[in-house]
């Protein structure tokens, strides 16, 4: 019975998790290592990698600051409408990425509410880099706040109040007392946020306009190469993102192990 259950569960995980991962690496290296590295000489691919890094470099710090602020006011204070606020923070998780992208098109696109004004001032948001960054910020919005909130709530206010009584100011208390207490949750929130920021597809596709070399991120480049039947190149770019996913999982295991140790 026991081995039957273990066998069934393992088979399910191998079929649905291990094999898709194996296909990515298997196909990328199927035409040899030269073909693999040749893909990175392509200017379109290089620019896609760069744009993905830019989007994540803006979205992750912004959402980290937001996550800290949200977790601080929700975790340390009581106020009316708190549970509504928590629900609203979760909202981007339940909105389809495609709908998120559309919302920004309706605001900043040529037909959108700010479209005419933006056009008059020659500012491009949709089908340009700012739109891609905004869409990325939207889909990764709750990640850091979500990881920090339960930690901050569980810690209570005792240690902060002690620090304040001893003469520390607000920022000192936050940096020296609160932050070290939640650091593992913060690290985990940031890596999850980063993984999603670099991998977002639907929301970014809607606002991107998909101009190779200009507004293609790595996931969009993968789609473009795949649709052109350049499978090996598509999978080669995909290996970078798959590697990022694996690193994320490893960091997660380390964080769980370390936070279990200090708890």
């Amino acid at each position: 019975m026991r081995w039957l259950l273990i066998g069934t569960a393992s088979l399910f995980l191998v079929l649905f998790l291990f094999l898709p991962l194996a296909v990515v690496f298997g196909t990328a290296f199927s035409q040899g290592i030269g073909m693999f590295f040749g893909t990175f000489a392509d200017a379109g691919t290089q620019s896609a990698i760069w744009l993905t890094l830019v989007a994540a470099a803006v979205a992750v710090p912004l959402n980290t600051v937001f996550g800290l602020a949200a977790a601080w006011c929700i975790g340390k204070f009581e106020f009316v409408g708190k549970s509504t606020l928590i629900t609203l923070i979760d909202l981007p998780f339940s909105v389809s990425p495609v709908v998120a992208g559309l919302a920004y098109v309706l605001l900043f696109g040529a037909q959108g509410y700010f479209g005419p004004w933006l056009q008059a001032h020659n500012i491009h948001i949709v089908f340009a880099v700012p739109g891609i960054v905004l869409a990325t910020v939207f889909v990764t919005f709750p990640f850091v706040a979500r990881e920090l909130l339960p930690m901050m709530q569980a810690q209570g206010n005792d240690e902060e109040e002690a620090a304040l009584t001893l003469g520390a100011n607000g920022w000192q208390t936050f940096l020296k007392v609160t932050l070290p207490n939640v650091k593992w949750a913060l690290v985990y929130g940031i890596i999850l946020c980063n993984a999603r920021a670099m991998g977002e597809f639907g929301a970014v596709q809607v606002v991107s306009g998909r101009i190779e070399g200009l507004t293609n991120t790595m996931p969009l480049q993968i789609e473009m190469l795949y649709s052109d039947y350049r499978f090996v190149a598509a999978y080669t770019v995909a290996t970078l993102l798959a590697m990022l996913a694996l690193v994320t999982l490893v960091v997660k295991s380390i964080v769980e192990w370390r936070s279990g140790e200090t708890a």
Binding site: M1, L5, A9, F12, L13, F16, L17, P20, L21, V23, V24, T27, V65, A69, W72, C73, I74, F77, F79, L85, L88, P92, S94, V95, S96, P97, V98, V99, L102, A103, Y104, L106, L107, Q111, G112, Y113, F138, F141, E160, G170, T173, A195, E200, F201, G202, Q205, M218, P219, L220, I222, E223, Y226, A238, L241, A242, L244, A245, L249, V250, S253
Partner: protein, 265 residues
């Protein structure tokens, strides 16, 4: 405690700017259509076919995950076996792997020449470019939700409870249905709802394997993208609003489920 005004102020400002204003703009835009036209768009046959497919496939995938998710959680909590740590970490892969990568690899794997597609084809199952493929992709995406909600409940569960049931003469199956299942049900249903909600909005992992034939294998998020690419902004917005309403309802349902399962444990 200092910093309340600053942190709450920034939170509200940022939430409004990034999330609330864009979503409000979507509702506002659709209201300019007028109710009759809005209703005409969201109930058009092609849209209705896409809802049926999106909801149906998400439901079936969440159901598959409910069964296998509970099984995987059980095996990971109760047994020790080789590579257990590896399997445990791998469960989160669908959270970490970008959807476009998952999409192309599932399409290759289950395609007519794929490692799994070819044997399935031999027994008459066309996995890729069909509704089966959509369910496969959504099963992949939803897999971690149920495992990760059920796992902590099983870890907290007292083995003595099952031993008591067994010593009172309950068989394995009876112990499972009468003792275990009622305890993990609230968590499992929360995971089910999370997987279902995620499946409805999912786009990247599905479109590569789906075939994307209007009326047959076209999911609702893809229909929105198609309308947008043809500059049918009104149609795209109306369907997006229909999806947003469903998302809000599901979000409230998930909150209620979470409160229920929190109250039970």
């Amino acid at each position: 405690m200092p910093g309340f005004g600053l942190s709450l102020g920034f939170t509200m400002f940022y939430l409004g700017l990034i999330v609330l204003i864009p979503l409000a703009a979507t509702f506002l835009k659709s209201s300019s259509l007028g109710f009759v036209q809005f209703w005409h768009i969201v109930t058009a046959p092609r849209a209705m076919a896409s809802y049926e497919l999106t909801f149906g496939a998400s439901f079936v995938a969440a159901l598959i995950n409910l069964v296998f998710g509970i099984l995987v959680a059980w095996v990971l909590v109760r047994y020790s076996f080789p590579l257990k740590k590896l399997f445990d970490s791998l469960v989160d892969l669908p959270f970490a792997l970008p959807t476009a990568v998952a999409g192309i690899s599932l399409a290759t794997l289950y395609g007519p020449h794929g490692w799994l597609g070819r044997p399935l084809e031999a027994i008459g199952i066309h996995a890729a470019y069909s509704r089966v493929g959509i369910v496969i992709a959504l099963t992949f995406i939803g897999l971690p939700f149920i495992v990760r909600t059920v796992q902590p409940v099983l870890e907290d569960l007292d083995v003595e409870l099952e031993e008591a049931a067994a010593s009172l003469g309950a068989g394995r199956w009876k112990t499972f249905t009468r003792v275990l299942l009622p305890t993990i049900m609230p968590a499992a249903l929360t995971g089910f709802a999370l997987a279902f909600a995620r499946g409805i909005g999912e786009y990247g992992s599905v479109i590569f394997i789906a075939g994307n034939m209007p009326m047959r294998t076209e999911i609702t998020p893809l229909l929105i993208v198609t309308e947008l690419e043809q500059f049918q902004y009104a149609d795209a917005t109306a369907i997006a609003v229909a999806m947003l309403v469903v998302s809000f309802v599901l979000l409230l349902a998930i909150n209620a489920l979470q409160r229920w399962s929190g109250a039970r444990t």
